[in-house]
């Protein structure tokens, strides 16, 4: 793990994106494939299991350091992070486990740790600590608590992989999406030249993401060059049918298989294999419009929904793009051509598969008038898509715009929390949120309201369990939870490091379906401030 610890230190010790990319690429060149595969998994934000509790770590530390509990606790408070406190308080280990490779830890030692009884687990931890230098003790503790965060974006990891193996970034992003298993074979497959018939089995394509429209839509040119649709307020997903088998992936690249049986059945009944991009919506068939987002959340939470839930909260897949048809990748074709094939494909489809309608408005003013009805349609506004554009990868400005109704909303990551006053004293109810500035999350808003008591209680517990640092009453938390915030406007601000402040922010909902990487970008907010 020595080499990986070196990489971690290099990534942690620099704020330069270029230096981070070089460090990762350099590591990939030097490291054995079995280790490099695990490094990619960890860097790309792959899930880590929690193998020991904080209580066990604390106990192991108190024993190993022979310091009184209060001093361990004071030290923890000063440092803010238990894994780091342990690495700092204990004398440096003898280095006898220095050369133990990363994959041996990940595949053998750590899984074995989870199976021990607490007594032996504590003893094992102490033995490991006494055999490793501080940098590796820290890293090991982070892996054990499932809380290792390496301050690099998925995009940066993809770029580094691309620099390492010479394959284009979108191919790598594609291969890395979904459930990537950290094995030497998978790493080799990641770096292999593109196959012409590369299906990549059950993987979704990287999503093409829209940017917020701040300018007058008339600046986009001729209305007829643009397809206008509702901006659906559900969960973005790809429905994949290949060789007759169905897969459903959320934009957060989580497998949703089994949760929406009505969608899978409808896909199985389609005339052929296809990959559809669209939105999962809880549907209100009586009035033919979506149910509120909250209804959909009931369905996401259920792995195997019962008949009652299926009947009360039916779900529709509102398809708006066709990425692959009968084995052919259509992403390079213009939207118009993809739409035509999509419409034909869905013509005879079962009810759960719907085609997102093209909105009929002859000119921009007419479209703007239609947009005023977004709320009645239970949508967030309009989408404008250039008819001649291919299906691109990621957030590329220019061809897809989201023209939301006011108030504006943004997806932001919870960064800090502070206890409230009065009725909610003692609970963490004051939150600070951040958006991405390059690879960094910067604070843009504070919000106090919008969650119900049950959510506040749940979030309070989460905050206590995921505190990384304390500054007086304020706690920094692991940047993992995404919230949708509504706000009235964005103003330039000298007070925030971000340079902008959002006016009247409030929490719309807790987006448990989104990953931190899905949060919005500072650039988009800055444009709102000037525009």
């Amino acid at each position: 793990m020595q080499r990986f610890a070196g990489l971690y230190a290099a990534l942690d010790g620099t704020t330069s994106t270029l230096a981070k990319r070089e460090a990762i690429a350099g590591y990939l060149r030097d490291a054995p494939a079995a280790d490099a595969a695990w490094a990619v998994h960890v860097l790309a934000g792959g899930k880590l299991r929690r193998l020991a509790t904080a209580t066990e770590l604390r106990r192991a530390l108190a024993e190993a350091s022979s310091l009184p509990d209060w001093l361990v606790e004071t030290s923890h408070q000063q440092v803010g992070d238990l894994a780091e406190t342990i690495a700092l308080v204990l004398p440096p280990g003898d280095g006898s486990l220095d050369d133990r490779p990363l994959h041996a830890w990940m595949e053998h030692d750590l899984p074995a740790l989870a199976k021990l009884d607490p007594e032996r687990r504590v003893a094992t931890l102490q033995a490991w600590w006494s055999a490793l230098p501080p940098g590796q003790v820290f890293l090991l503790n982070k892996l054990i608590t499932g809380a290792l965060r390496v301050g690099v974006s998925q995009r940066l990891v993809v770029q580094a992989l691309s620099a390492w193996c010479g394959q284009p970034t979108d191919l790598i992003a594609h291969r890395l999406s979904g459930e990537w298993r950290p094995t030497p074979a998978a790493l080799a497959a990641l770096a292999a030249p593109a196959q012409t018939d590369e299906h990549l089995a059950d993987r979704p394509y990287p999503f093409f993401l829209a940017s917020p429209l701040e300018a007058d839509p008339a600046s986009l040119g001729d209305r007829h060059d643009w397809l206008a649709e509702w901006k659906w307020d559900g969960i973005r997903a790809q429905l994949i049918r290949r060789d007759g088998r169905c897969r459903l992936w959320s934009r957060g690249e989580e497998r949703l298989d089994g949760r929406f049986p009505e969608i899978e059945q409808a896909a199985a009944a389609l005339g052929g294999d296809a990959v559809l991009d669209g939105e999962l919506l809880a549907w209100d068939a009586d009035v033919d419009r979506p149910q509120p987002f909250l209804a959909l959340q009931k369905r996401i939470g259920k792995r195997l929904p019962g008949p009652k839930l299926l009947a009360n909260t039916p779900v529709r897949f509102m398809a708006y793009d066709l990425l692959e048809h009968a084995g052919a990748d259509l992403r390079g074709q213009p939207l118009d051509a993809r739409r035509a094939r999509l419409a034909a494909l869905l013509a005879g489809a079962d009810a759960p598969l719907m085609l997102s309608p093209a909105l009929d408005a002859p000119d921009w003013p007419a479209l703007a008038a239609l947009r005023q009805h977004s709320r009645e349609a239970r949508t967030e506004g309009l989408m404008l898509k250039r008819r001649a554009a291919p299906y691109r990868v990621g957030r590329k400005r220019g061809d897809w715009w989201k023209w939301k109704i006011d108030p504006h909303t943004l997806d932001a990551v919870l960064l800090y929390a502070q206890p409230g006053h009065g009725r909610r004293a003692g609970l963490f109810t004051d939150y600070s949120f951040g958006v991405w500035d390059g690879d960094e999350l910067v604070t843009v808003a504070k919000a106090y309201s919008g969650l119900d008591d049950a959510e506040i209680a749940r979030l309070d517990r989460w905050i206590r369990a995921h505190t990384t640092e304390r500054f007086g009453p304020v706690r920094a938390v692991e940047p993992l939870q995404v919230f949708e915030l509504a706000f009235e406007a964005v103003q330039p601000s000298g007070r925030h490091k971000s340079g902008v402040a959002v006016r009247f922010p409030r929490i719309v909902r807790w987006r448990t379906d989104k990953k931190p990487t899905d949060a919005d970008r500072l650039d988009d907010l800055r444009r709102l401030a000037t525009g």
Binding site: T14, T15, T74, S75, V79, D81, E84, L88, V89
Partner: protein
């Protein structure tokens, strides 16, 4: 004979009533013993100073050329009224001293700032047996345990090389007195490359050279031609220069900070430097405990920093420990 006759906190600073003198007074007094030349310890305006001879040059920089100063050799006993006083190496910076005071067979030692790690620029800390030991406590928690300097210098050289490869200057912020010279001296054992210096460091580095400390060659940044490209060069500057217009000349530079506070990851990230190097001229936790033990003192007074944890820990170990509250303003120069 009680220790209070030898050391008392006063608004002006630690005071020795029996000898009628202050140690590192905050305000001008008649008679002062000054432990070292850091700005939060050496203040001008007092009537007369006693200092360690090894630090005389630095003291003159701080206290003025006209100040009445008597230089004392380490271990040389001198009288202040009935009190026998001597200065002993503290290992903190060039000429830093602990103050030993003896009256009627009772001995009090005031450590001043000190460290236990090796430092090629000054005499090593000398444990002085005493009845009451007044220790500093800048880093009074067990999370502060300094890495070997050799490894820090490895990291520093690797960073310098990396910057050279990227065509960027490497600007290292560190305190102008002590830290800068220690780094320059440690570098001299590993490289002969020239280091560029901020103006605030020039005279201090010169004092160290005159004292016979071997350091890498240095040149003032100000002597470089306008528009000079500092790519691949290492530049030392005081922390106050960070973010100033002085930095503009370096264009896109990589920045580092050398301080004991860099031990904590959160500090490294919050400070906004690209790199943090753990270099401290203060004692770490093991150093504090070792010094207390080696003093053999039955009474320990803790000052200069957050003393709560060390006091409580020592008390639980059976030591008569208490905080010695002094009205000391923390000054950036020695804060790490």
């Amino acid at each position: 004979m009680r220790s209070e006759e030898l050391i008392q906190p006063r608004p002006e600073g630690p005071y020795c009533p029996a000898g009628d003198f202050y140690i590192d007074p905050l305000r001008p007094v008649a008679r002062a013993v000054v432990t070292h030349a850091h700005a939060d310890h050496a203040r001008s305006g007092s009537g007369h100073y006693d200092v360690a001879a090894a630090g005389l040059g630095l003291m003159r920089e701080r206290l003025g050329q006209d100040a009445a100063i008597t230089a004392r050799g380490y271990g040389e006993a001198f009288r202040m009224g009935p009190v026998t006083v001597s200065l002993h190496p503290a290992g903190h910076v060039l000429g830093s001293a602990q103050v030993r005071m003896e009256l009627d067979g009772r001995v009090v030692v005031v450590s001043g700032d000190y460290k236990r790690d090796p430092d090629p620029t000054c005499a090593p800390f000398e444990p002085v047996p005493c009845d009451l030991f007044v220790t500093e406590c800048t880093f009074g928690l067990p999370v502060y345990r300094w890495p070997p300097m050799e490894r820090v210098i490895d990291d520093l050289l690797a960073w310098w090389d990396d910057c050279a490869r990227r065509g960027m200057p490497a600007v290292l912020f560190c305190y102008a007195l002590g830290k800068a010279q220690r780094i320059l001296a440690e570098l001299a054992a590993r490289t002969g490359r020239t280091v560029h210096l901020h103006g605030a460091m020039l005279r201090l580095v010169e004092q160290y050279r005159q004292a016979g400390v071997t350091m890498v060659p240095t040149v003032p940044v100000s002597e470089s031609a306008r528009g000079r490209d500092f790519a691949g060069e290492l530049v030392l500057a005081p922390p106050s220069a960070a973010g100033s217009t002085w930095m503009k000349r370096f264009g896109k530079a990589s920045t580092g900070f050398a301080s004991g506070w860099m031990q904590i990851r959160g500090n490294r990230h919050r400070r906004g430097y690209d790199r943090g190097f753990v270099v401290s001229d203060h004692a770490d936790w093991p150093g504090l405990l070792a010094s207390v033990a080696q003093s053999g003192a039955r009474q320990v007074r803790v000052t200069h920093g957050d003393s709560d944890a060390l006091v409580r820990y020592l008390r639980e170990q059976g030591v008569d420990a208490a905080p010695l509250h002094l009205p000391r303003e923390r000054d950036a120069e020695s804060g790490g």
